[in-house]
Symmetry: C2
Subunit: 301 residues, 2 copies
Amino acid sequence: MTEPTTVQNDDVVVFLAGGNGRASAPLVPVPQSDAAVNVADLAVTRGDGVFESIGVVGGRLIELPRHLARLAHSAELLELPPPDLAAFEAAAHTALAAHAPAPELLVKLFHSRGVETPAHTIDGPTGWVQVLEGADHTAARRDGVRVVLLDRGYRSDIAQTAPWLLQGAKTLSYALNKAALREAARRDADDVVFVSTDGVLLEGPTANVVVRHGDVFRTPRTDLGILAGTTQAAFFDTVRAQGLTAEEAVLTPDDLTTADAAWLCSSGRLLAPIRSLDGAPLPVDAHFTAHVLTQAFGLPT
Amino acid sequence: MTEPTTVQNDDVVVFLAGGNGRASAPLVPVPQSDAAVNVADLAVTRGDGVFESIGVVGGRLIELPRHLARLAHSAELLELPPPDLAAFEAAAHTALAAHAPAPELLVKLFHSRGVETPAHTIDGPTGWVQVLEGADHTAARRDGVRVVLLDRGYRSDIAQTAPWLLQGAKTLSYALNKAALREAARRDADDVVFVSTDGVLLEGPTANVVVRHGDVFRTPRTDLGILAGTTQAAFFDTVRAQGLTAEEAVLTPDDLTTADAAWLCSSGRLLAPIRSLDGAPLPVDAHFTAHVLTQAFGLPT
């Protein structure tokens, strides 16, 4: 007898072996509604872990190696035990195979420090993979999103001067990113681009920024305390393959307002044109966006 | 038949009724090792919730009303549904009664936004109480702790200018506080006091700061983007009852280096004298500290 390998009417979770933070058997796909972590897991009590969200189009995991590399890098910044990347990859495929098929899915990898025991030791790490159906991004990809600039409160050199602030790590301590999106909604916008206190363009709460001026595409440098974009990297690969220029740079809000086109890049939504900034319209290149979505990510035209 | 009300050889968890993030029955004390939250709870995936840690000395919850008020305030800053404070109080007493007695315990209250369902709705909030045995703080209370100053990266007016950064809320997004403590250990110290980019003394990762100059006790103002200290407030009550002066102020690192005595105040450790700052010794008033620990918190002499 083997375990059932398809989960009906629910998202799917697979726990990695090792660590004992899990409340479900490892390596076996379980419905999300049955998948739980111990209340004393540091993911729960301190947001003390790292994660990745990977887009899946037509069953294919997009930019998996870049996501695995980033998970390992985030873990290093938090001084977590190194994640077992082969185990995460295997669990991702197991979970994906157990999920009801869909044109697009999202695979999330979670790697927490583990469970704080009553004896004040840490039993960990805890690792798991979740496969879920993302929201419908059709409108955002086609029509674009309304963006506001918000102060991130930090200087652009913060990752070098104060590494304990963990800028550049994708941690489970994400409450402020959700708060920034609520602030955007209050301002009648869909999304946010953060700006440093010294006036440098950074990133969105869950996305990287790309601006186009003529044949030159630019994105903020990753030494500015931001995440290295995986979707942005795939976008740049496609741009370069067309003989256009793509580079990292120090950008300011002026580079957004003067852009011929600008995008937010993220794993679920992939590319969303920025169609307004603080209420002022920005040009949207719908044709080019659709072209890249097909070329780089395999979305149907 | 009633449920067993004492848990053996483990810490204790009680889930509140309502919300369905819990994997255990509500209102019934369960061993921590059996208490789990759903993997899709936003406490797990985003650190999107708030908490309180309450000291318990001789069975008495210290400063419970101030902790409940702060939980509600933190929830407001995160735009969470208001926590049911009466339910939290009842659950705290239930959990405490079920824990094996100890001279000191710690009661933690957790209030998360809830579980993100496959349909992208939120089923919540999720609330629970955990009772645990804290670490042994005898040496820290008596001999003091070695503290380093670390840059918090923010200006001291950040709570007013950028409320979406959630400064002043006690959120489950605590990874950077743990990272700061690791940085302290690297510098051969026990704890941290954060300083703003404009040179203002803020708070520790899990504690408030109090400095004494003669008969005047001061702590950083809560409009500086820091938590209102519950232990510090009880300390100040005791100080004022003795006819001494206790006040909120804008302090700088110089106020620490010139202090006649200084303390970190937190719910588990209560008062820890600061015995050195960035390696330079500070005076420790062991007699006065012991006096306040007894007067304000009921610790045996």
